[in-house]
Structures are given as structure tokens and as C-alpha cells.
């Protein structure tokens, strides 16, 4: 099984388009975000549709955090302290994040964490 060791490399694919078969998991749905709306309202339609999926993803992150720090203190910090960070984020992103938390019911600190994931994980 040595040839299966990372990075498993295959011959260049051809004829894959239009997407089909086992590497294609589905099309992506389109939404419209109206930039004329107040920032807190812009994502309402997207989040209403994707609320369950967002909650499920955040739960996985909570589980991972609790696996690293079983006392639950890491998530406590996220829920108590990260909401303070949203006030310092630039407009309109801070208001959009507040709107997403309000529509989804996900704690504000956890929505903030999702939105700063990139900066957290570049090490």
C-alpha cells in the first residue's frame, strides 16, 4: 500500500466536466445579498436556510474545543470574551456578524470565532 501514502497521485483527469460521478457531491445554491439593506439584515435569507447546518458545524467546533480543554473553559472564553471583540471589528462586518448570530441563535462569540478562523489557524 506504499503507493497510497500521501500524497496519493493519479494520472491527469480528463472529461470530468460537466461534474458527475463519485468526486461530485452536488451543485451549490445561489443566494442574493442586497448591499442596500442594513448590514444586520443582509444575511437573513441565507442563514434562515442554512441555520441547521451552521449550528451543526459550530457544535463540531465546540466538541473539538472541549476535547482539548475538557473543563469547558475554552468555550466559556469564546462565549464570554469574543463578543467583546465584535465591537472592535470594522463596519459593516461587525453588524453583519451580529445579524447572523441573531438569526441563527448561535452565541455571538462562536459566530465571531468562525469569522476569524483564518487568523487563528495560520500557524
Amino acid at each position: 500500500s506504499a503507493h497510497l501514502a500521501p500524497p496519493f497521485t493519479e494520472e491527469c483527469r480528463t472529461g470530468m466536466y460537466p461534474p458527475k460521478g463519485p468526486t461530485f457531491k452536488g451543485a451549490v445554491t445561489w443566494y442574493t445579498v442586497d448591499l442596500n439593506l442594513p448590514p444586520s439584515k443582509r444575511w437573513a435569507a441565507v442563514i434562515s436556510d442554512k441555520k441547521a447546518e451552521l449550528v451543526a458545524m459550530i457544535q463540531v467546533i465546540r466538541d473539538l474545543a472541549n476535547a482539548f480543554v475538557p473543563s469547558g473553559k475554552l468555550i466559556d472564553i469564546v462565549d464570554k470574551d469574543l463578543p467583546l471583540l465584535v465591537d472592535t471589528l470594522p463596519y459593516p462586518f461587525n453588524e453583519e456578524i451580529r445579524g447572523i448570530a441573531a438569526v441563527s441563535g448561535v452565541p455571538l462569540g462562536e459566530v465571531v470565532l468562525f469569522n476569524i478562523f483564518y487568523e487563528v489557524f495560520t500557524v
Binding site: C12, R13, Y17, K50, T122
Partner: protein, 253 residues
Amino acid sequence: CTSVVAEDSKGSLFHARNLDFGLFMGWDVKNKTWIVTEKLRPLVVNVDFRRNNQTVFKSTNFAGYVGMLTGIRPHVFTLTMNERFSLDGGYIGILEWILGQRDGMWMSFLTRSVLENATSYEEAKKLLSQTKLLAPAYFILGGNQTGQGCVITRSRTLSLDIWELDHSLGRWYVLETNYDHWKEPLFVDDRRTPAMKCMNQTTQANISPKTLYDVLSTKPVLNKLTTYTTLMDVSTGLLEAYLRDCPDPCSPW
């Protein structure tokens, strides 16, 4: 991630990317998948950002994430971002932000601002290369005229390198994974060599969004971290995205 900007023989510019995310964030032993990657896929959406009933830009996004990683300003430019790992990483930028030093920009907020406000390839390039950031990054930018395509390698404060399309050198595409292009990639994570082999095999005469999809469907360019593939054509304003899966045998990254 793998991003590529390519110019065909007629001067048309195409931009495509695989977004890979979730490394070391929980491995599902039973299904041989990354837990966070699997949970991110259902959150992928395409968004048409409109002002006064007209499209300003389009993007492939994660629902709940207000920044941008992949987008097109139709007829003007295309933009993707790849993660750049560094010890001088984003956590230092976050600490500085918390301590009150807030002259840097959050990476995905910068890409969103550029897509929303920049009105030319050159303006986008300037903003992406000169704005101070909280975290290092690779910005892959495509324009709407021949020769307009580049990879901007960023540290938090500096533009380390701008690698551009160059006809005189026969460079008809620029391709970025997650390593500085002037250095060798990690040998267990070399997606660059297979991707470049497939690009060269495709040839400039045959490059198109369809053949770019072929390149991005070749393992390990496609791997277990790949959540979506996006194809963009600046001249028509096309943005297409597809959710991806990578059944075994498949590289975990």
C-alpha cells in the same frame, strides 16, 4: 487549497480554485474523513452581491462567514485567497488587535472590501499588496486583459513577492497551493507538481473552465480536505461552484 489563473491562446483569462480546509480538526476514523470539512460542505453557497439591483460581485462562500475567499467582479477581476502558514501567524495579529494596535486588516474582510470597492485589476493588486494584514496569505488575482494574473505572497506587513503571468517567459498560468512559489513544497504535501503537470499537459491552446475542472479533479489536487471547486471566467462574469468528495484511494490533504 489550489488556485490557478490561466490565459488561453486568444487572451481570455480563467481562474479556478479548490478550497481545502479542516486539516487536523478531527478525523472520522470510520468514514476516513475530516470532521470539520464534512460539516463545512453543506454551508457552501454562491452569493450574488447586489446594490441598486445590479450585481457588484459574486462569490462562493460559507454561510455565516462574512469575509470572502473566492470571488469575481464581473468583467473586471477575479480573486481567490490561499492560506499561508507562518510562525509569524495570525494569532500575533489577533493579540495585537486585542491590545489595541488595530492598523492591520482582517484577511477575509480585505478580500471582501476589494471585491466590493476596487474597480480595476491594478487597484485590486495595489490594495492586496499594500494593506497591512493580521495574518500572512496568498492572494491570487486575475484581470480582464492579457497578462493580468498574479500571485501576491503576503507577510502580515509586507508584500514579499508578486509573481505574474509573463508571455515573454512562456508563463501562461500562475498556480499557487500553500507554499511560497520560489521554495519546494513539503514533500508529503506536493499538490503543485501534479497540478502543474496537468496544466502543462492540457496546454494553453486547450485551457478553459472545463479543462481547469479536470486539473482540479486530479488527486492529490483533489483531496479529502477539498470542500468545493469554483470556476470563473472574467469576460463573461461566470462563477460556477461544485461540492467535491474524494473517495479512497485519496490523499488526506
